[in-house]
């Protein structure tokens, strides 16, 4: 059964901006990666899922409920990290988290655990915080009530590499715990490490939809090279992150997201 169903969603902002005839589903307990460059339409799609904007064409549902009409019911089991964090400047982060838990009425069972995970001491006014700190508060607010469905809009933006890793670990754990996750990103790497399936969106249109493994196979080109001796091979494998087998080392090139897009662009162009 699918938890998130988007069918024929269209939101035309003019000048070829927006989202066009987008259809995709995310299964229950599935982690779905929503990849696309800036301005591709990821946030616009997630806004529809959150019930912030009403579909002009098409429908979006979560657990069979209409995301616009039944948004308050859906929100009971939903955690959301906004693409742009803008919380109440006048509050300290502790106050904000306390307020959010009470306001939502969904509790804060995991707040302490989340704060610890991200080395966050919730002191100080939100106004004075760095982008990364605000992002962490956003993460805590999204996960603290242990929701079933997670909508994460570029959740690692502003985080340092260590915190990005911890976040990826968190998402992986949540996936194992059976949560349904839709995570948007413009980085192939982080989505590849966490998500079972990936949809690639470009200029508001879905250009690829496949399992991560299939996409990886398509876009990773392996080369096997033979070196003079095993010692050199081992050093080579280490330097180039390859797999060593005697004197043979297999290294693979990874295409950048942009290259992958261009691939899909060409394919769809050829079909026309």
């Amino acid at each position: 059964m699918s938890a998130i169903v988007i069918s024929n969603l269209t939101r035309d902002y003019g000048e070829n901006r927006g989202v066009f005839d987008l259809s995709l589903t995310v299964g229950k307990s599935e982690a779905f990666g929503f990849l696309g460059p800036n301005g591709a339409g990821k946030t616009t799609t997630i806004r529809h899922l959150m019930g912030f904007i009403k579909p002009k064409v098409g429908t979006v549902t979560i657990d069979g409920r209409d995301c616009w009409r039944e948004r308050d019911i859906i929100q009971k089991q939903l955690g959301y990290i906004p693409g742009e964090i803008a919380f109440f400047d006048d509050m300290s982060s502790a106050e904000f988290l306390r307020f959010t838990a009470k306001y939502r009425g969904t509790g804060n069972a995991r707040e302490k655990e989340m704060l610890d995970r991200f080395d966050l001491s919730p002191k100080g006014k939100i106004k004075k915080m760095s982008k990364g700190m605000k992002q962490k508060i956003g993460i805590v607010a999204a996960f603290m009530h242990d929701p079933e469905v997670l909508l994460l809009d570029e959740p690692t933006s502003g985080l340092d590499p260590l915190m990005q890793c911890r976040f990826i670990d968190l998402v992986t754990e949540e996936k194992k715990r059976g949560k349904t996750i839709l995570m948007s990103s413009h980085m192939f790497d982080e989505v590849e490490r966490t998500c079972h399936r990936i949809g690639i969106i470009r200029a508001g249109r879905l250009v690829a939809l496949d399992t991560t493994d299939a996409l990886r196979d398509k876009h990773v080109r392996p080369y096997t090279v033979r070196l003079d001796d095993e010692q050199t091979a081992s050093a080579f494998a280490k330097d180039f992150d390859g797999r060593q087998d005697g004197v043979a080392v297999t290294v693979s090139t990874r295409q950048t997201l942009e290259q992958i897009f261009l691939d899909y662009y060409d394919v769809s162009g050829g079909d026309r």
């Binding site: 806004r47 959150m50 019930g51 912030f52 904007i53 009403k54 308050d72 019911i73 859906i74 929100q75 009971k76 939903l78 959301y80 906004p82 742009e84 803008a86 919380f87 109440f88 400047d89 006048d90 904000f96 307020f99 959010t100 009470k102 306001y103 939502r104 009425g105 969904t106 607010a141």
Partner: protein, 266 residues
């Protein structure tokens, strides 16, 4: 339909602003009540005979020989219209428009709370703050009068007068709140929310001067609030504040509906 946690937060913010407004009003109201002096009142009456335009423009007309008539002229012509109005404009913006403009409304709408309930709670916070402010004004007027001129003030009339003031300010609040719910950009929500009442007030001032622009008073809702009429207990004046109250309710309902149905690009 109502979220107490949000209400508490907003009332806390309102109280801070209210304290400042109450402080300034305390100074003015006590000063003006003390200024009442039947003899002095007749001097002012003469003054307004010499320069009728200036005095009536700021609403200072009518009989100033009774304490309540004096208060009606010197407080309800301008001061008590403008001060609470500034409060209402500021708070109405702070309760919806500012959140939408800055995007922090996301913290309120990404929760299992109906939009209707959010807007209703904010409206209630606006109305409660206003109620507190007008109640304070009423209490202050009564206490001041009783201390300085015991038994001089007609309590029934001052209560009715302030019920009228509350209706008028609620109506202004309705305009600001609706503007806040319609526009996403603070430029427009504040511009319309503050601009319309301010423009109406200017028209009212012009109409007060009389002459060829007198008919302009039919173009402003301030006409519906007639302090002297309320003191005299005129039916037309009471009808006026009923219209203001019903209008305020209609504006708030419209605002809540708009907010519930609007797209939030946040």
């Amino acid at each position: 339909m109502f979220n107490f946690t949000l209400y508490k937060r907003e009332m806390k913010k309102s109280i801070l602003t209210l304290v400042i407004f109450a402080g300034v009003l305390t100074i003015y109201i006590t000063m003006i009540v003390q200024m009442f002096d039947p003899e002095m009142a007749s001097i002012l009456n003469q003054f307004s005979e010499i320069m009728p335009g200036v005095m009536t423009a700021v609403g200072m007309s009518g009989t100033v020989t009774t304490l309540i008539g004096f208060m009606s002229s010197y407080l309800y012509g301008m001061l008590l219209l403008l001060f609470p109005m500034v409060y209402v404009v500021l708070r109405a913006h702070g309760l919806i428009g500012k959140y939408v403009d800055r995007g922090s409304i996301v913290a309120l709408v990404s929760a299992p709370i109906k939009r209707r309930a959010i807007a209703f709670t904010q409206m209630k916070a606006l109305a409660s703050g206003l109620f507190l402010l007008v109640s304070y004004i009423t209490l202050l007027e009564i206490v001041c009068s009783e201390v300085v001129f015991p038994g001089e003030l007609e309590i029934g009339s001052i209560l009715l007068l302030n019920v009228g003031l509350l209706c008028l300010q609620l109506f202004i609040g309705g305009i600001c709140f609706l503007a806040s719910c319609v526009f996403n950009d603070a430029k427009y929500s504040v511009g319309i929310g503050a601009g319309v009442p301010a423009l109406m007030y200017v028209i009212q001032m012009l109409a007060n001067i009389g002459g060829s622009v007198e008919n302009a008073r039919y173009a402003t809702f301030f006409t519906l609030f007639d302090p002297d009429g309320l003191i005299a207990g005129e039916t037309a004046a009471i009808a006026g504040i009923v219209v203001l109250f019903v209008g305020a309710c209609a504006l708030f309902v419209a605002a809540i509906v708009v907010f519930s149905k609007k797209d939030l690009h946040i």
